[in-house]
């Protein structure tokens, strides 16, 4: 582009994609239009961008997942609504306190087992022992969950996601056999609706 060397020309080039997508307004739009009028190369560049935009639209159009994902999301919404309606404020505080204790114990165990002591490790990241994911039945109580986790020697290290999935870390550097035993234990309990192994 013959006049595309100074800062002003570079700015016009940077504005051109937004002229092409129809979002440029006011003075910026007028400046780009004036540039297009006087520069055949700018017009060629605009044509190229218009073709590119059309191709990007074509290749990026994907069929949305549809009703199944909507139903799954609505189930998660209803689950949250039920919990909100059923749970008095003091229970929420008590559960938060219990979870804080579980989390603190998890961190302490992790450090005792040789985890980093000189830095802070978040529960969601950096814990390489995360090995299982699990979903609990809507009616499961905190006591039932805690008892089961004690029995399984497992600690919650992540979640719940929107679908109620928790990630568990197993104690004592559990090997494949121990993970399989724990999975069997979790799956045998009514309060567990889903349990599976995940990559660390």
């Amino acid at each position: 582009m013959s006049e595309a060397s100074g800062p002003q020309a570079r700015e016009l080039q940077a504005l051109l994609p937004f002229y092409v997508n129809g979002t440029l307004e006011g003075e910026e739009r007028r400046r780009v239009e004036a540039w297009l009028e006087r520069s055949p190369e700018a017009r060629a560049e605009a044509d190229l961008l218009a073709t590119l935009r059309e191709r990007v639209k074509r290749v990026s159009s994907v069929e949305a997942p549809g009703e199944l994902t909507l139903r799954r999301t609505l189930s998660a919404v209803r689950r949250e609504q039920r919990v909100r309606l059923r749970t008095p404020g003091w229970v929420k505080l008590a559960v938060a306190a219990c979870l804080a204790v579980i989390v603190a114990q998890g961190v302490a165990l992790y450090r005792t087992a040789g985890g980093p002591v000189d830095g802070y490790a978040t529960l969601g990241g950096g814990v390489e022992q995360a090995a299982l994911e699990v979903t609990f039945a809507p009616g499961a109580t905190e006591l039932q969950i805690r008892t089961l986790l004690d029995e399984a020697d497992a600690t919650i290290v992540g979640g719940p996601g929107s679908l109620g999935v928790y990630r568990l870390s197993l104690g004592g550097g559990a090997d494949a056999e121990a993970r399989a035993r724990t999975l069997e234990l979790l799956r045998s309990r009514d309060i567990v609706t889903h349990a599976a192994e995940v990559a660390p």
Partner: protein
């Protein structure tokens, strides 16, 4: 002008839906979901390139919208707000999978000029090449191209979504376009 008026009307309707979602309307939530499902899913796909994972993230995004609806203050468009949530969820998902989002770098390719890029773009049979070149872009550049050319958002809206200065957004789209041109030209030339 007519299309802008339509867009403004559609945005008002979305804001009204979100207000009803904030008051707990499941019906409004379903309508909001249906209205934005395709756009959010396409955005997730552009970053994750996995339909099953993108569907999970879409579900997470809409659930988050349900949770946060009452905090929406109308300072941005509903679509901008949803794309911001989607972006966070996508980045979370990428981190969870041990993938570090790339910021700016694209594979270096020789500059083959505009003419060969135009040649490479000509014809519907070249869609695979366009798709391939889009996938070759860095995450930040692919995101910028998607929001500018698929969503037709202004640079100010994109800046709010990606939480970067407007100048950075313009530069990203410019560099992404250059990288696409180079990639398409090379594929066109070597075919």
């Amino acid at each position: 002008m007519a299309s802008r008026a339509r867009a403004a009307k559609s945005e008002d309707a979305a804001a009204e839906l979100l207000a009803r979602v904030a008051r707990g309307s499941e019906e409004a939530f379903t309508e909001l979901y249906r209205r934005f499902e395709s756009r959010i899913f396409a955005f997730c796909m552009s970053r994750l390139n996995d339909p099953a994972v993108a569907a999970d993230v879409l579900s997470e995004v809409m659930l988050e919208a349900w949770r946060q609806a009452e905090r929406f203050e109308g300072r941005s468009k509903v679509s901008t707000w949803l794309f911001s949530i989607a972006r966070y969820k996508v980045l979370d998902e990428m981190r969870r999978r041990g993938r570090r989002p790339e910021e700016e770098l694209d594979p270096a390719l020789p500059d083959e000029g505009r003419a060969s890029a135009v040649d490479a773009l000509a014809g519907a049979e070249r869609e695979d090449e366009v798709r391939r070149c889009l996938q070759n872009l860095s995450d930040a550049h692919r995101e910028a191209v998607h929001l500018a050319f698929f969503e037709d958002l202004s640079y100010a809206e994109i800046a709010r979504i990606v939480e970067r200065p407007e100048g950075t957004v313009k530069t990203r789209v410019f560099h992404a376009k250059q990288a696409l041109k180079r990639c398409l030209a090379q594929l066109g030339v070597t075919r």
